[in-house]
């Protein structure tokens, strides 16, 4: 069924398509519409889920942890300070190997108080053990929700999928909401091997001494490694069932490129326009969109980037004292190769400042005009 809906409502429909059983969320701009629509689904019976109201995001995630431990498919959504408040329980969800799915609407962290987009909220959760997908379009949002649950439940790890505040969350696009029969075919009911069970009460998450804790962490890393083929297979299966799909990374006009832009989220769509116009001008410029942040798709990054001389990474985030986070990740992924591209690291659009085709054009021109990056961080549009 085709509908014109916002990115936020795409999240709600994605959760409905995934037949989530427990939703616990606390409203926060710009995520609020997600839970509004989900609560309506629950109230009207369109979705047979228990909607648990809570007083904070910490409790929202705690309720999801408990629901998931009891064997329910659990879902939540949040943004910025809300995600930060969940931080402790995000660790718990991953350590307890609970396949919870969370939609994060990327919003800049305060202060200064902001409701506009950047990626620091979700990227700050890098080390919690959660998988992370970044979405470009509303269709991708619906579809990624299904993919997230499928992957999460196969490897027993929680998954976060991310969309930009306002640029996606509040922007309407045509979306094909998949038929439930197809969704059910793609995402079977969740049946964990171990769960809270009154008939066989077990202690979950209890004290683990040094004899066991280390191995639990080892197995979490193994789960992330195992996730890469599982994600690949999940995308292939998605194509088979729904007739469209995505990748962990997606190349656009990269053949023969001498410069590849690396983008995430909605900047990708803007950059695509610039790439098209560059190509008509005959410049060999391509684009690599990255969807998967954790686990790092090292092989895909190498395959896409090692063959080009220059890479311009566009970071709508910053790890202070270092620089762009995607830059850091990509450099790390390519480090052990003997020949590596020159990497230009651009920081742009922080706190929701608009990123326009002209901005991207400037990045392209600047990169092509320089043999090597003049500085570890290249700021675009900072006003001083």
């Amino acid at each position: 069924m085709k509908k014109v809906i916002t990115g936020n409502h795409a999240v709600s429909f994605g959760a409905q398509c995934s037949r989530v059983q427990v939703i616990s969320a606390y409203p926060i701009t710009p995520q609020t519409q997600i839970v509004e629509l989900l609560s309506e689904f629950c109230a009207s019976g369109k979705l047979a889920a228990k909607f648990i109201k809570v007083e904070s995001e910490h409790s929202a995630m705690a309720a999801c942890v408990a629901a998931s431990a009891a064997g329910a498919r659990a879902f939540t959504a949040t943004s910025a300070q809300g995600l930060a408040l969940m931080h402790e329980v995000l660790h718990w969800a991953a350590g307890a190997r609970l396949p919870i799915v969370l939609a994060d609407v990327n919003r800049a962290m305060g202060p200064g108080w902001s409701v506009w987009t950047d990626q620091n909220d979700s990227l700050s959760q890098r080390d919690t053990g959660w998988l992370q997908f970044y979405c470009e379009s509303n269709q991708e949002v619906v579809d990624t929700c299904l993919i997230s649950f499928r992957v999460a439940e196969q490897i027993m790890m929680p998954v976060m999928f991310v969309l930009d505040a306002f640029v996606l969350s509040h922007t309407s696009e045509g979306v094909d909401i998949p038929e439930m029969a197809l969704c059910d075919q793609y995402l079977p009911p969740y049946k964990p091997e171990l769960k809270l069970d009154l008939a066989d009460p077990r202690s979950f998450g209890a004290l683990s001494n040094p004899d066991h804790y280390y191995e639990i962490r080892y197995k979490m890393q193994k789960a992330h490694e195992q996730a890469l083929p599982v994600i690949k297979q999940a995308h292939e299966e998605f194509a088979r069932v729904f007739g469209r799909t995505y990748g962990m990374t997606e190349s656009y006009k990269c053949e023969d490129a001498e410069l590849v832009l690396v983008t995430t989220g909605t900047i990708t769509g803007t950059a695509r326009v610039v790439i098209d116009s560059e190509r008509t001008k005959g410049r060999r410029v391509g684009l690599l969109k990255i969807r998967l942040f954790r686990p790092t798709p090292v092989a895909e990054l190498k395959a896409a980037l090692l063959k080009v001389p220059k890479v311009a990474i566009i970071d709508r985030n910053i790890t202070f004292g270092h620089g762009g986070i995607w830059t850091q990740e990509i450099k790390s992924a390519l480090y052990d190769e003997p020949v590596r591209p020159k990497i230009f690291s651009y920081i742009i659009g922080i706190g929701g400042r608009d990123v326009t085709p002209a901005d991207i054009q400037e990045i392209v021109d600047f990169t092509l005009a320089h043999d090597r990056p003049p500085a570890p961080i290249i700021w675009r549009g900072v006003r001083l």
Binding site: L194, R202, S203, G205, H212, K219, M220
Partner: protein
């Protein structure tokens, strides 16, 4: 405790780390971890004494019947009252309800309308409850002198226990002060008559017009009956003790009220002064008003010192009766042997006297006069001790007995105003019941029955649940239901009952305001809050699973009503 009887399961040791589950989870049932052993404090269900119950002179289990009322179990509520007070239709009308003064809810908004609910239940049961029958018959004949609240209460409980009871009543109709002293507009004679029918149905014989010391002699009674209970009240009015008090048109308040109550219409003029600040004064003034007079009350102290029930004073003022405070009579002014006025003296308050109230002191030269047609004196009542045998122990003003009515003489008991001096109906009822318990204990050679506990179930602690113990987060503010009453116009020139009684819905809603202080009312809070699922439902109530209760105390903290106590583990048996 199931697992305790069985061998605890062995925790398996797996060969390789990779065989263990990927998350921290026990390999066997978690029930082997008896977390109750971590406990240093344990919660116990421990009903306390609700302050209303503690305050009731008739030992009514008020919280218990409010609970039954809320559940619309009216007959059970009535019967619960009857365990300690046989006549709730009476107390539901005339009691000064100290329970409401003690009610913790008054700190929150307004006290529960206990008095009005008691009246509802009393009237409900009076016409519907099956007549009880004594289980046994006892040969020991009991004679009760006086059919007021103390006598009729003792008669009820003794008859219930199978004793043949005869009440001797000096007046033409039974009821003592209830009949003679309390006006119809406060206690309808129809209600009183019904209560007496209930008493007679139990086999109690009542001989009216039988004043002991006149037709019958006490010595004869003592030969005839093995048990005698004095319950003849305090019916002698104190005299003013001022010149002119013998004038026509001076009468005692009790005599005035008794005449009206026996269906006569005493002759009074327009200008009536009632001397005194007690309940008799208020009753006399309001009765005089209803006879068409223009009464005023003269009291030598101030409103704060008035012994009358505050509600009654309030009603008198609402009905337009002026009260002159700080004035005392000096003499009655006569004209041809009749009252024509009174000379009074202004008073001021001095140091507190033995009653704790500030003593009125005359203001020199402050004499003033009032023109009056009638003077009604209501400055206190005394006990008639004249007919008592020489050996019956008495002080100068009352019969000597303990709180169970036991005198120093075997087989001789006394209860009510004749022991305490003029007090209240509910105190007389309480003492009448205690005397019945003492008499039965004496005859059966058993110890006196324990006073009942707090709640509807079992014995409670003697600790009184205070307002600070109530978790008020669980209660919404709500207004007390007003008692419907006749408007002022409708009270003119008649003795119709002023208060009309709660409608059933109002009574139920009002009872639902009760905090149930200190007594579990099955609210499920402990059950819901327990993080260890160690609160188990047991019949209607709960019990702890101490194998797993860690003693965190959340249940006690979140109990809205202090029915759970945390005790040190080492104190637990």
């Amino acid at each position: 405790m199931k697992w305790l009887e069985a061998e605890p399961p062995k925790i398996p040791v797996l060969e390789r780390e990779s065989d263990y589950p990927p998350m921290a989870v026990s390999l066997t049932t978690s029930l082997i971890n008896r977390t109750g052993s971590w406990r240093i404090f344990r919660p116990i269900y421990d009903n306390k004494l609700p302050p209303c119950n503690a305050e009731c002179p008739a030992s009514e289990r008020i919280q218990g019947y409010l609970d039954l009322m809320e559940q619309k179990r009216f007959l059970e509520g009535y019967q619960l009252i009857l365990e300690t007070n046989p006549f709730p239709s009476i107390t539901g009308r005339v009691c000064y309800h100290p329970c409401e003064g003690a009610c913790n809810r008054k700190e929150f908004d307004e006290p529960i309308g206990i008095h009005n609910i008691e009246r509802f239940l009393g009237d409900y049961g009076l016409s519907r409850a099956p007549r009880p029958k004594p289980a046994v018959r006892r040969p020991d004949q009991v004679c009760i002198i006086g059919s007021g609240p103390a006598g009729m209460t003792a008669a009820w409980y003794l008859a219930l226990k199978g004793y043949p009871v005869t009440i001797l009543e000096a007046a033409a109709q039974p009821g003592g002060m209830l009949r003679l002293g309390i006006p119809e507009y406060r206690l309808s004679k129809a209600v009183l008559d019904k209560e007496f029918r209930k008493l007679k149905a139990l086999g109690v014989k009542i001989k009216t017009n039988t004043r002991v010391g006149e037709k019958v002699k006490l010595d004869d009674l003592r030969r005839q009956f093995s048990i005698i209970l004095f319950a003849h009240g305090a019916h002698q009015s104190r005299e003013l003790g001022v010149p002119g008090q013998e004038a026509r048109g001076v009468m005692s308040g009790l005599e005035f009220l008794a005449q009206i109550n026996l269906g006569r219409r005493p002759r009074i003029g327009k200008r009536v002064a009632v001397i005194g600040g007690g309940n008799t004064a208020i009753d006399a003034a309001r009765s005089a008003l209803r006879l068409g007079a223009e009464p005023r009350i003269l009291y030598r102290r101030t409103r704060a010192e008035m012994p009358a029930v505050a509600d009654e004073v309030e009603e008198a003022l609402r009905e337009g009766i002026p009260i002159d405070f700080l004035c005392a009579p000096v003499r009655v002014i006569k004209s041809k042997g009749r009252v024509s006025g009174m000379e009074l003296l202004r008073m001021k308050l001095g140091k507190p006297d033995e009653s704790g109230r500030r003593r009125p002191v005359p203001v020199k030269g402050s004499n003033f006069r009032l023109k009056l047609d009638t003077v009604i004196t209501a400055i206190g009542e005394q006990v008639d001790l004249g007919f008592l045998g020489a050996d019956v122990p008495a002080t100068g003003w009352s019969v000597s007995a303990d709180r169970f009515g036991r005198t120093k003489l075997s087989g001789i008991y006394a209860a009510g105003d004749c022991v305490t001096g003029p007090k209240t109906v509910v105190e007389a009822i309480g003492m009448g019941r205690r005397a019945a318990l003492a008499i039965d204990a004496h005859v059966t050679q058993q110890p006196i029955e324990e006073e009942k506990g707090s709640g509807v179930r079992g014995q409670g602690s003697k600790e009184i649940a205070q307002y600070v113990n109530i978790n008020t987060a669980y209660f919404d503010h709500s207004a007390r239901k007003a008692m419907p009453a006749l408007d002022l116009k409708a009270r003119r020139r008649n003795f119709k009952e002023v208060h009309l009684g709660y409608a059933q819905n109002d009574a139920v809603e009002e009872s639902a305001r009760c905090f149930s202080c200190g007594v579990c009312d099955r609210c499920d809070n402990c059950y819901v809050f327990c993080p260890d699922m160690s609160v188990l439902k047991k019949d209607e109530y709960y019990e702890y699973d101490y194998d797993f209760c860690k003693g965190c105390g959340v249940c006690a903290k979140e109990c809205p009503r202090y029915a759970i106590t945390m005790i040190e583990e080492r104190q637990a048996k």
